[in-house]
């Protein structure tokens, strides 16, 4: 049964082939979208079946590898195309295919009438295929293939409307945004690649289980472990938009909104968390690297959350929110709370996909308007969107009993318990406050208050059922999803192990937890309840502040902006990260290159080497072509010369 794992990526591949090659032939949009959605839906069905098969097995037998074929073999180096179904990969596969299916269905409505309709679905299916390879792979190389593949799809989909205008630092078209994402990701990929070399050199294999077991049994030199972990994490920061490579994600919003929901919120950007979680043992053996992960995560969470407060583009608010939430997840990973991170990946996938799809519905209904300053009062025009969006907003703000509360609270508690008790918790709490604030600001500016758009030009309308259906499903999941991870402190009366997800994922992380010295003991601390109450209070405070400022039309926000002009502008310009990079990368390097590189290094050395090599090749080619005179007998002469030389050498030498 578990051998059927290959079917999970197979269906999207078939879907991609059909929509990609015959998409133009299939005239009907419904048919194309139907095929693409069905492909992912079938994958979800298979994944669900496998999941239930796994649940029927004892906890320590829930890992199964299906070998498809041997991909590369040379000497001792052997890499298979093999899919590993276990507790972690099946959770990811369910998220990818489940949310993927919903977003496919949603896209059928959203992309209606687009001239590149088949191309869009082909890319989406290809993305799902690659993402499934990434999570189901049993070795680094296959994951890397998926890693690159999702990067490619992301690139293609960000630039899907490649000639549309798009505003950003040094960005004018969506194509530029795609390039920015591409470059930031390449830096990360470079890290993964080097890490792979190091891993192969150290352990002699690239299979996850073998590598992690070998590392646990006989840990190699701590320096190497730290290097490997940090390089892998560099890859994660690229893919999951953490500082310092976070810059690409907000600009990636240039892509169609379903893409933002699927790739840039629910699935691809969490690949970095997957990579760390999959190699939890390696990270556990590199405590220094863990600290780096935690610090980067916490910093990103706060920085992105504060930027989110002042953004006016509906999708950019959500984008910074995503970056911030990913920071939460890395903070959890950094303190060794792997389960909490995966839990947050899941709940975040629910409510962030919901919010993005909701924003897409708004944009759709507002005829491509994205500025929340020009919205308002959409409550009555778009009831379904409004209701579901509100659920998503509450969920992300961390109000119980919605999904966001449980996962975020677990992260907060874990950082408090294992992350030095004070500072990290406080920073994340501030980030959580900001989250509640900017999310409700977004909600009020969009749906509440007066209508600030031109009634003669714009007629907001509710979206078709293909779009509202996924909204409803995701809203439902956002409400109930949290109960998969009820903390012991709240559920101790019902069961000894109320946290279902922790039970499920436990065996995966037992090795890492063992190294970190974490037992499976449960106890109730009074302080946990205090902190829980505090986080609820913080979220409520954020919501109340937002409603005070934005519920009714008022001058207060503008006043505040004037009063704290410096801070406001700093946030509005995203801490000028882009500009700093600009200054670093362009200006500084420009100066440096002008003064030194160009006048000394380039003219003297690079010209002598790089250009020299190119010129040598060119001129060698030019002189070689002179030999090719076009006269038959000259060819014969060269042949004779060659024959004489060869025979002489054979006879004499």
């Amino acid at each position: 049964m578990l051998d059927l794992a290959y079917l999970i990526p197979l269906f999207p591949l078939i879907g991609f082939l059909i929509t990609g090659f015959f998409g133009k032939k299939l005239k009907s949009e419904a048919l194309i979208g139907g095929i693409a959605s069905a492909a992912v839906g079938l994958s979800f069905a298979v994944a669900a079946t496998l999941f239930f098969t796994l649940t029927g097995l004892p906890a320590d037998a829930r890992s199964h590898t299906t070998y498809i074929f041997s991909w590369l073999a040379a000497g001792n180096f052997n890499v298979d195309v093999a899919y590993q179904v276990d507790q972690l990969s099946i959770v990811y596969a369910l998220i990818v295919t489940g949310i993927g299916t919903l977003i496919h269905i949603y896209s059928m409505g959203y992309m209606h009438g687009d001239k590149s309709y088949p191309r869009f679905f082909a890319y989406l299916n290809l993305f799902i295929f690659m993402m499934l390879n990434l999570v189901l792979a049993n070795n680094f190389l296959l994951t890397f293939l998926g890693w690159e593949g999702v990067g490619l799809c992301s690139y293609l989909l960000i630039g899907f409307w490649y000639d549309r205008k798009f505003e950003g630092v040094n960005i004018r078209f969506t194509g530029d945004a795609a390039n920015k994402a591409f470059i930031a990701n390449r830096i990360g990929d470079f890290g993964v690649l080097i890490a792979m070399f190091l891993i192969y050199k150290t352990f002699g294999t690239l299979e996850y289980n073998a590598v992690n077991t070998a590392a646990a049994v006989a840990p190699p030199d701590a320096g190497i472990m730290t290097a490997i972990a940090l390089l892998l994490f560099l890859g994660s920061t690229g893919k999951s938009a953490q500082l310092p490579l976070a810059v690409w994600l907000p600009d990636a919003m240039a892509g169609p909104t379903p893409v933002s929901a699927l790739i840039h919120a629910a699935t691809m950007v969490t690949a970095g968390i997957f990579l760390v979680a999959r190699n939890a043992t390696l990270f556990a053996l590199a405590p220094d690297a863990m600290t780096v992960v935690a610090v980067v995560g916490v910093t990103t969470a706060l920085v992105a959350a504060t930027i989110g407060i002042v953004q006016n583009d509906i999708k950019k608010v959500l984008a910074y929110s995503t970056v911030s939430q990913l920071g939460f997840m890395f903070a959890a990973l950094g303190v060794g709370a792997f389960t909490a991170a995966v839990f947050h990946v899941m709940t975040h996938a629910f409510f962030k996909a919901l919010l993005f799809l909701g924003s897409g519905s708004v944009i759709h209904g507002m005829h491509e308007e994205q500025d929340i300053q020009k919205m308002g009062g959409l409550k009555k025009y778009m009831p379904v969107t409004h209701r579901t969006f509100l659920i998503g907003t509450i969920a992300i703000s961390g109000i119980p009993p919605l999904a966001g509360f449980f996962s975020k609270d677990e992260i907060l508690w874990m950082t408090f318990e294992h992350g030095g008790h004070g500072p990290m918790w406080i920073i994340l709490a501030i980030a959580a406050f900001c989250t509640a604030f900017y999310m409700f600001r977004l909600y009020y500016l969009t749906f509440g208050g007066k209508e600030r758009f031109d009634h003669h030009r714009l007629h907001p309308h509710e979206s078709p059922v293909t779009m509202t259906l996924p909204l409803n499903v995701l809203a439902f999941l956002s409400v109930v999803g949290g109960f998969l991870g009820v903390p012991y402190a709240l559920g101790f009366f019902a069961s000894d192990h109320p946290n279902l997800l922790e039970n499920w994922l436990g065996p995966i992380f037992s090795q890492a937890n063992g190294i970190l010295g974490r037992g499976e003991h449960h106890s109730i601390h009074a302080i946990e309840y205090v902190l829980m109450a505090a986080s609820i209070a913080i979220a409520t405070a954020g919501i109340l502040l937002a409603s005070k400022l934005y519920k009714e039309e008022s001058e207060k926000p503008a006043e505040l902006a004037r009063k704290f002009k410096g801070a406001y502008n700093l946030l509005l310009h995203k801490y000028r990260i882009d500009e700093i990079y600009q200054a670093l990368v362009v200006s500084f390097i420009y100066q440096f290159s002008e003064r030194f590189l160009w006048k000394v290094f380039d003219v003297k050395i690079v010209d002598g080497l790089i250009n020299g090599a190119a010129k040598t090749t060119q001129s060698a080619g030019e002189s070689l072509r002179r030999i090719q005179s076009g006269v038959t007998q000259n060819y014969a002469l060269l042949m004779i010369a060659g024959i004489v030389v060869i025979l002489t050498w054979l006879a004499v030498g």
């Binding site: 073999a73 040379a74 080619g621 090719q628 038959t632 014969a636 010369a641 024959i643 054979l650």
Partner: protein
């Protein structure tokens, strides 16, 4: 006798069918369509026969040890037939567009494949010679097929004169080997070279081996016997070039592998070391000359011709390695090369549509992605594979050959190969850049590839499949030796 015919089924079958095709063409006026259909059928039948013989229980010889049966030869038979089918499918639209469809074209392709069969199966210098000549004479005619074109006829003349010239050396080499070993059969030569009798005229044997290697090097366009290739590949009808540069090269290497195994039975002997070094030097020079010359080309066929010279150099690395891995690497590379090179040339032939003016220069390919997105995508696949970028077939071809060379101690050769691969990035990727990132103001009418589309899809699929599951072919290739 009958058993011999059965064991070597593809050769007599295709010879008979090719003769029938020829007669059919003579009997039927304006029956090119039927001749075409029958030719495709013939090749398919021969391929079926080859697959049948490939699974013969044991490797035997037939007709008094003149030819070998099954295994190695049969694998190459399949490759040749595949190349032939791809060429024929693309040839018909090409010939119709240039209004030069005659039945001779098809029968000549079939006859040249007969020659290749003989080469791959030869177990005797005589059959090797006949095979080479049957193939070459067909090629001389095919490259001059467009006899009113000054390019085509010039290609034909050059190919013919140089080919006949080198035939003299080839036969001389065979005569000297015969003079030293006292026999023409591979088995006898093998024994003579190993035993005491082989030492009869060691110098004559060495010179004979040298001349034989030179003759086969010419056929596979190895430096310094490569100069015909750019001119002939440029001038010949594109579809013929597609066939010559792939199947012809494959045939030359299919002759190389067994004859070298026979002539240098002990890989540790000084003679084997000397021959290995000779092959390594030729290989290195060929890669560099081919790739460096390709950099400055403006004509796409000429650029690909030089690149095919370079690829012959890569393949020769496997010969220099002189190991099973080297030989199986060549077999894999030949298969991969068949798809990617034939695909590229067929694509050009489909674009030029019978005109010798259209799509000849690299600048004509600017903006192709806008005009023919599918064509541009396919071309990119072929170019990436030729460059050796994973996950396409070309990467694994190079990978196997490079590792084989390293294992045999030719690290310096591998370094040169890597350097020349880097040089080749310049012009392969240059073409992709031109197709995707340059604008063209030339308006384009619709050009549909017709039957050539089937060839293109098969080629691209082959390139990708070999890139995704290289182990499949690699295992077969290793089992041949």
């Amino acid at each position: 006798m009958l058993q011999d015919f059965l064991n070597s089924a593809p050769i007599p079958l295709l010879s008979a069918l090719a003769t029938l095709v020829m007669l059919l063409d003579a009997m039927k006026r304006d029956g090119a369509r039927i001749v075409f259909g029958f030719s495709v059928f013939s090749l398919t039948a021969a391929m079926a026969a080859a697959i049948y013989t490939m699974f013969l229980p044991d490797k035997t010889t037939a007709f008094n040890n003149m030819i070998t049966c099954g295994g190695y030869g049969a694998y190459f038979d399949i490759v040749f037939c595949l190349g032939g089918v791809l060429t024929l499918l693309a040839a018909r639209p090409f010939l119709l567009a240039s209004n030069t469809e005659h039945g001779e074209f098809y029968s000549l392709i079939l006859f040249s494949i007969c020659g290749m069969f003989l080469i791959a199966h030869s177990n005797n210098l005589l059959t090797l010679f006949i095979g080479i000549e049957v193939m070459s004479v067909s090629f001389y005619i095919l490259s001059g097929y467009l006899r009113t074109s000054r390019f085509s006829i010039e290609a034909s003349l050059k190919y013919f004169l140089l080919g006949a010239f080198i035939t003299g050396f080839l036969v001389y080499g065979m005569a000297l080997i015969y003079g030293s070993a006292g026999a023409l059969g591979y088995n006898e030569i093998y024994q003579a070279v190993q035993g005491e009798t082989g030492a009869r005229f060691p110098m004559i044997l060495l010179l004979g081996m040298g001349l034989l290697i030179i003759g086969l090097s010419f056929k596979s366009a190895i430096f310094p016997f490569h100069q015909w290739a750019p001119d002939v590949y440029q001038g010949a009808p594109t579809i013929v070039t597609a066939f010559m540069s792939t199947a012809g090269k494959a045939a030359a290497f299919s002759a190389f592998i067994p004859i070298l195994a026979v002539l240098t039975p002990e890989s540790s002997s000084p003679v084997a070391a000397k021959i290995g070094m000779l092959l390594a030097v030729l290989s290195a020079a060929t890669m560099l000359v081919g790739n460096i010359s390709a950099v400055v080309q403006k004509n796409i066929k000429r650029m690909l011709a030089y690149s095919s010279v370079a690829h012959a150099g890569y393949m020769m690395m496997g010969l220099a390695a002189g190991s099973v891995r080297g030989a199986s690497g060549i077999v894999f590379y030949v298969t991969a090369y068949m798809f990617m090179q034939i695909g590229a040339f067929i694509l050009i032939s489909a674009l030029e549509r019978g005109s010798e003016e259209r799509y000849q220069n690299l600048e004509d390919y600017a903006g192709l992605a806008k005009k023919h997105p599918v064509m541009a995508a396919l071309m990119s696949v072929f170019m990436l594979s030729l460059t050796g970028i994973p996950p396409f077939a070309g990467f694994f071809g190079k990978y196997y050959l490079f590792t084989a060379a390293i294992e045999s101690g030719y690290t310096w050769l591998t370094i040169i190969a890597v350097i020349s691969s880097v040089i080749s990035v310049y012009f392969y990727i240059g073409l992709i850049v031109a197709m995707y990132f340059r604008e063209s103001d030339v308006q384009e009418q619709d050009s549909r590839p017709g039957l050539a589309g089937i060839s293109l899809v098969i080629s691209a699929a082959g390139v990708i499949i070999l890139g995704v599951i290289p182990q499949f072919i690699d295992k077969i290739a290793k089992s041949l030796f």
